[in-house]
Amino acid sequence: MLGEFEYLLLSAAAKLGENAYGAAIRAETEKATGKLCSIGALYTTLDRLEAKGLIETWMGEATPQRGGRPKRMVRITAEGRKAAAAFYAAVIRASRGVAWEIS
Protein backbone atom coordinates (compact mmCIF):
# COMPACT_ATOMS: atom_id res chain seq x y z
CA MET A 1 0.00 0.00 0.00
CA LEU A 2 1.28 3.45 -0.92
CA GLY A 3 1.68 6.29 1.53
CA GLU A 4 -0.29 9.48 0.99
CA PHE A 5 2.77 11.48 -0.07
CA GLU A 6 3.92 8.71 -2.37
CA TYR A 7 0.52 8.80 -4.04
CA LEU A 8 0.69 12.60 -4.42
CA LEU A 9 4.08 12.34 -6.16
CA LEU A 10 2.88 9.53 -8.44
CA SER A 11 -0.20 11.58 -9.35
CA ALA A 12 1.92 14.65 -10.10
CA ALA A 13 4.30 12.55 -12.23
CA ALA A 14 1.35 11.00 -14.10
CA LYS A 15 -0.10 14.46 -14.79
CA LEU A 16 3.25 15.77 -16.05
CA GLY A 17 3.87 12.74 -18.28
CA GLU A 18 7.05 13.14 -20.36
CA ASN A 19 7.88 16.35 -18.48
CA ALA A 20 7.96 14.75 -15.05
CA TYR A 21 11.13 15.69 -13.19
CA GLY A 22 12.04 16.71 -9.62
CA ALA A 23 11.29 20.44 -9.65
CA ALA A 24 8.15 20.06 -11.82
CA ILE A 25 6.74 17.31 -9.58
CA ARG A 26 7.47 19.48 -6.54
CA ALA A 27 5.67 22.47 -8.07
CA GLU A 28 2.71 20.31 -9.16
CA THR A 29 2.42 18.78 -5.68
CA GLU A 30 2.51 22.22 -4.03
CA LYS A 31 -0.18 23.43 -6.45
CA ALA A 32 -2.40 20.41 -5.76
CA THR A 33 -2.10 20.43 -1.98
CA GLY A 34 -1.56 24.12 -1.29
CA LYS A 35 1.31 23.11 0.99
CA LEU A 36 5.06 23.42 0.64
CA CYS A 37 6.92 20.34 -0.51
CA SER A 38 10.55 20.21 0.58
CA ILE A 39 13.33 18.97 -1.69
CA GLY A 40 14.31 16.51 1.05
CA ALA A 41 10.84 14.95 1.22
CA LEU A 42 10.64 14.91 -2.58
CA TYR A 43 13.92 13.15 -3.34
CA THR A 44 13.87 10.70 -0.44
CA THR A 45 10.33 9.67 -1.43
CA LEU A 46 11.34 9.38 -5.10
CA ASP A 47 14.23 7.14 -3.96
CA ARG A 48 11.80 4.97 -2.02
CA LEU A 49 9.39 4.73 -4.94
CA GLU A 50 12.27 3.76 -7.21
CA ALA A 51 13.48 1.14 -4.72
CA LYS A 52 9.96 -0.33 -4.72
CA GLY A 53 10.03 -0.45 -8.53
CA LEU A 54 7.12 1.99 -8.85
CA ILE A 55 9.06 4.61 -10.83
CA GLU A 56 12.21 4.84 -12.94
CA THR A 57 14.48 7.88 -12.81
CA TRP A 58 17.36 9.05 -14.97
CA MET A 59 19.38 12.18 -15.59
CA GLY A 60 17.72 14.42 -18.16
CA GLU A 61 19.04 17.26 -20.24
CA ALA A 62 20.24 20.57 -18.83
CA THR A 63 18.21 23.72 -19.55
CA PRO A 64 19.20 27.42 -19.41
CA GLN A 65 16.61 28.31 -16.73
CA ARG A 66 18.30 25.72 -14.50
CA GLY A 67 21.70 27.29 -15.02
CA GLY A 68 22.71 24.47 -17.36
CA ARG A 69 22.14 21.80 -14.72
CA PRO A 70 20.54 18.39 -15.34
CA LYS A 71 17.06 17.26 -14.27
CA ARG A 72 16.14 14.04 -12.52
CA MET A 73 13.49 12.71 -14.88
CA VAL A 74 10.75 10.40 -13.58
CA ARG A 75 8.66 7.76 -15.32
CA ILE A 76 5.97 5.67 -13.62
CA THR A 77 6.29 1.93 -14.17
CA ALA A 78 3.37 -0.45 -14.76
CA GLU A 79 3.71 -1.51 -11.10
CA GLY A 80 3.52 2.14 -10.06
CA ARG A 81 0.32 2.69 -12.05
CA LYS A 82 -1.18 -0.42 -10.48
CA ALA A 83 -0.23 0.72 -6.94
CA ALA A 84 -1.61 4.24 -7.53
CA ALA A 85 -4.86 2.83 -8.94
CA ALA A 86 -5.20 0.52 -5.92
CA PHE A 87 -4.60 3.45 -3.52
CA TYR A 88 -7.15 5.60 -5.37
CA ALA A 89 -9.72 2.78 -5.34
CA ALA A 90 -9.16 2.30 -1.59
CA VAL A 91 -9.70 6.03 -0.92
CA ILE A 92 -12.88 6.00 -3.01
CA ARG A 93 -14.16 2.89 -1.17
CA ALA A 94 -13.28 4.35 2.23
CA SER A 95 -15.01 7.63 1.36
CA ARG A 96 -18.31 6.06 0.32
CA GLY A 97 -21.13 7.27 2.57
CA VAL A 98 -18.96 10.01 4.08
CA ALA A 99 -19.80 13.65 3.42
CA TRP A 100 -16.91 15.90 4.33
CA GLU A 101 -17.62 19.57 4.73
CA ILE A 102 -14.99 21.76 3.18
CA SER A 103 -14.90 25.02 5.04
Partner: protein, 176 residues
Protein backbone atom coordinates in the same frame (compact mmCIF):
# COMPACT_ATOMS: atom_id res chain seq x y z
CA UNK B 1 25.96 27.33 1.59
CA UNK B 2 28.87 25.54 -0.07
CA UNK B 3 29.66 23.84 3.22
CA UNK B 4 26.51 21.72 2.92
CA UNK B 5 26.95 20.46 -0.62
CA UNK B 6 29.39 17.73 0.35
CA UNK B 7 26.60 16.08 2.34
CA UNK B 8 24.76 15.30 -0.91
CA UNK B 9 25.66 12.62 -3.43
CA UNK B 10 27.77 14.11 -6.26
CA UNK B 11 25.17 13.40 -8.98
CA UNK B 12 22.44 14.88 -6.79
CA UNK B 13 24.25 18.16 -6.17
CA UNK B 14 23.79 19.40 -9.71
CA UNK B 15 20.14 18.30 -9.83
CA UNK B 16 19.35 20.12 -6.57
CA UNK B 17 21.28 23.22 -7.73
CA UNK B 18 19.18 23.18 -10.89
CA UNK B 19 15.93 22.73 -8.93
CA UNK B 20 16.80 25.66 -6.67
CA UNK B 21 17.69 27.82 -9.67
CA UNK B 22 14.39 26.91 -11.32
CA UNK B 23 12.28 27.61 -8.22
CA UNK B 24 14.19 30.84 -7.58
CA UNK B 25 15.06 29.85 -4.02
CA UNK B 26 18.25 31.30 -2.64
CA UNK B 27 19.87 32.29 0.63
CA UNK B 28 18.36 30.84 3.77
CA UNK B 29 15.47 29.09 1.94
CA UNK B 30 17.94 27.24 -0.30
CA UNK B 31 20.15 26.43 2.68
CA UNK B 32 17.15 24.96 4.54
CA UNK B 33 16.27 22.80 1.52
CA UNK B 34 19.80 21.44 1.19
CA UNK B 35 20.15 20.84 4.95
CA UNK B 36 16.76 19.09 4.98
CA UNK B 37 17.73 16.74 2.18
CA UNK B 38 21.15 16.09 3.74
CA UNK B 39 19.48 15.33 7.09
CA UNK B 40 17.09 12.84 5.52
CA UNK B 41 19.88 11.29 3.48
CA UNK B 42 22.59 11.13 6.12
CA UNK B 43 21.47 11.55 9.71
CA UNK B 44 18.45 9.28 9.65
CA UNK B 45 20.42 6.23 8.41
CA UNK B 46 23.28 7.11 10.78
CA UNK B 47 20.91 7.33 13.77
CA UNK B 48 19.29 4.04 12.75
CA UNK B 49 22.67 2.41 12.38
CA UNK B 50 23.85 3.74 15.77
CA UNK B 51 20.68 2.44 17.42
CA UNK B 52 21.04 -0.95 15.73
CA UNK B 53 24.76 -1.06 16.65
CA UNK B 54 23.89 -0.25 20.29
CA UNK B 55 21.33 -3.03 20.35
CA UNK B 56 23.87 -5.33 18.68
CA UNK B 57 26.46 -4.53 21.36
CA UNK B 58 23.93 -5.28 24.12
CA UNK B 59 22.96 -8.55 22.40
CA UNK B 60 26.60 -9.63 22.20
CA UNK B 61 27.30 -8.80 25.86
CA UNK B 62 24.06 -10.30 27.20
CA UNK B 63 24.25 -13.47 25.11
CA UNK B 64 27.87 -13.92 26.23
CA UNK B 65 26.78 -13.62 29.87
CA UNK B 66 23.87 -16.06 29.45
CA UNK B 67 25.93 -18.55 27.46
CA UNK B 68 28.55 -18.39 30.22
CA UNK B 69 25.96 -18.91 32.98
CA UNK B 70 24.25 -21.78 31.15
CA UNK B 71 27.56 -23.41 30.28
CA UNK B 72 28.73 -23.16 33.91
CA UNK B 73 25.68 -25.09 35.11
CA UNK B 74 26.12 -27.57 32.28
CA UNK B 75 29.79 -28.07 33.16
CA UNK B 76 28.89 -28.40 36.83
CA UNK B 77 26.22 -31.03 36.23
CA UNK B 78 28.23 -33.00 33.68
CA UNK B 79 31.40 -32.87 35.79
CA UNK B 80 29.63 -34.10 38.89
CA UNK B 81 27.32 -36.54 37.19
CA UNK B 82 26.53 -39.83 38.89
CA UNK B 83 24.12 -42.52 37.72
CA UNK B 84 22.38 -42.42 41.08
CA UNK B 85 21.37 -38.78 40.49
CA UNK B 86 19.10 -39.81 37.63
CA UNK B 87 16.72 -41.44 40.08
CA UNK B 88 16.92 -38.51 42.49
CA UNK B 89 13.98 -36.14 42.10
CA UNK B 90 15.85 -33.45 44.05
CA UNK B 91 18.62 -33.45 41.43
CA UNK B 92 16.11 -32.83 38.63
CA UNK B 93 14.22 -30.20 40.63
CA UNK B 94 17.38 -28.28 41.42
CA UNK B 95 18.59 -28.44 37.82
CA UNK B 96 15.19 -27.21 36.58
CA UNK B 97 15.31 -24.36 39.12
CA UNK B 98 18.82 -23.30 38.08
CA UNK B 99 17.94 -23.27 34.39
CA UNK B 100 14.55 -21.59 34.95
CA UNK B 101 16.45 -18.58 36.27
CA UNK B 102 17.90 -18.19 32.78
CA UNK B 103 14.52 -18.32 31.01
CA UNK B 104 13.45 -14.69 31.60
CA UNK B 105 16.82 -13.22 30.52
CA UNK B 106 16.70 -15.52 27.46
CA UNK B 107 13.21 -14.26 26.55
CA UNK B 108 14.41 -10.68 27.01
CA UNK B 109 17.37 -11.40 24.78
CA UNK B 110 15.09 -12.88 22.12
CA UNK B 111 12.85 -9.80 22.31
CA UNK B 112 15.96 -7.62 22.01
CA UNK B 113 17.04 -9.56 18.92
CA UNK B 114 13.60 -9.06 17.36
CA UNK B 115 13.73 -5.31 18.06
CA UNK B 116 17.31 -4.99 16.76
CA UNK B 117 16.38 -6.85 13.59
CA UNK B 118 13.38 -4.57 13.11
CA UNK B 119 15.51 -1.44 13.54
CA UNK B 120 18.21 -2.76 11.21
CA UNK B 121 15.62 -3.63 8.57
CA UNK B 122 14.56 0.02 8.43
CA UNK B 123 18.14 1.16 7.81
CA UNK B 124 19.63 1.25 4.35
CA UNK B 125 20.45 -2.18 2.99
CA UNK B 126 24.21 -1.64 3.42
CA UNK B 127 23.77 -0.52 7.03
CA UNK B 128 21.55 -3.50 7.83
CA UNK B 129 24.05 -5.92 6.26
CA UNK B 130 26.87 -4.28 8.23
CA UNK B 131 24.82 -4.64 11.43
CA UNK B 132 24.38 -8.37 10.73
CA UNK B 133 28.07 -8.86 10.00
CA UNK B 134 29.19 -6.96 13.12
CA UNK B 135 26.68 -8.86 15.25
CA UNK B 136 27.71 -12.20 13.80
CA UNK B 137 31.47 -11.52 14.02
CA UNK B 138 31.38 -10.10 17.56
CA UNK B 139 29.11 -12.81 18.90
CA UNK B 140 30.99 -15.64 17.20
CA UNK B 141 34.25 -14.24 18.55
CA UNK B 142 32.74 -14.65 22.02
CA UNK B 143 31.12 -18.00 21.28
CA UNK B 144 34.29 -19.74 20.09
CA UNK B 145 35.96 -18.94 23.42
CA UNK B 146 33.26 -20.84 25.32
CA UNK B 147 34.19 -24.29 26.67
CA UNK B 148 30.99 -25.83 25.27
CA UNK B 149 31.30 -24.53 21.76
CA UNK B 150 28.37 -26.45 20.23
CA UNK B 151 26.08 -25.48 23.11
CA UNK B 152 27.14 -21.84 22.87
CA UNK B 153 26.67 -21.79 19.11
CA UNK B 154 23.20 -23.39 19.30
CA UNK B 155 22.17 -20.98 22.07
CA UNK B 156 23.40 -17.95 20.13
CA UNK B 157 21.71 -19.10 16.92
CA UNK B 158 18.36 -19.80 18.61
CA UNK B 159 18.20 -16.77 20.89
CA UNK B 160 20.02 -14.06 18.93
CA UNK B 161 20.54 -14.84 15.26
CA UNK B 162 17.23 -16.47 14.26
CA UNK B 163 14.94 -13.86 15.93
CA UNK B 164 16.98 -10.98 14.46
CA UNK B 165 16.96 -12.40 10.93
CA UNK B 166 13.30 -13.43 11.17
CA UNK B 167 12.21 -9.94 12.19
CA UNK B 168 14.35 -8.37 9.44
CA UNK B 169 12.81 -10.62 6.82
CA UNK B 170 9.26 -10.17 8.09
CA UNK B 171 9.50 -6.38 8.27
CA UNK B 172 11.15 -6.15 4.85
CA UNK B 173 8.49 -8.40 3.36
CA UNK B 174 5.46 -6.71 4.90
CA UNK B 175 6.69 -3.11 5.00
CA UNK B 176 8.56 -2.52 1.75
Amino acid sequence: MNGFWWLLRPEEREVVRGDLAESGESGFAALAQIAGLAARRTWRPVCTLLLAAGMGWWLVRESDRLIGAGATYLWMYLGNWRAADMANSGFWREMALEYSRLILPCLLLMAGSLVAGTIASRARRGAADMFCMVLAAATLADVVREPFFAYALAFWAAVVLVPAILSMRLIRHHLP
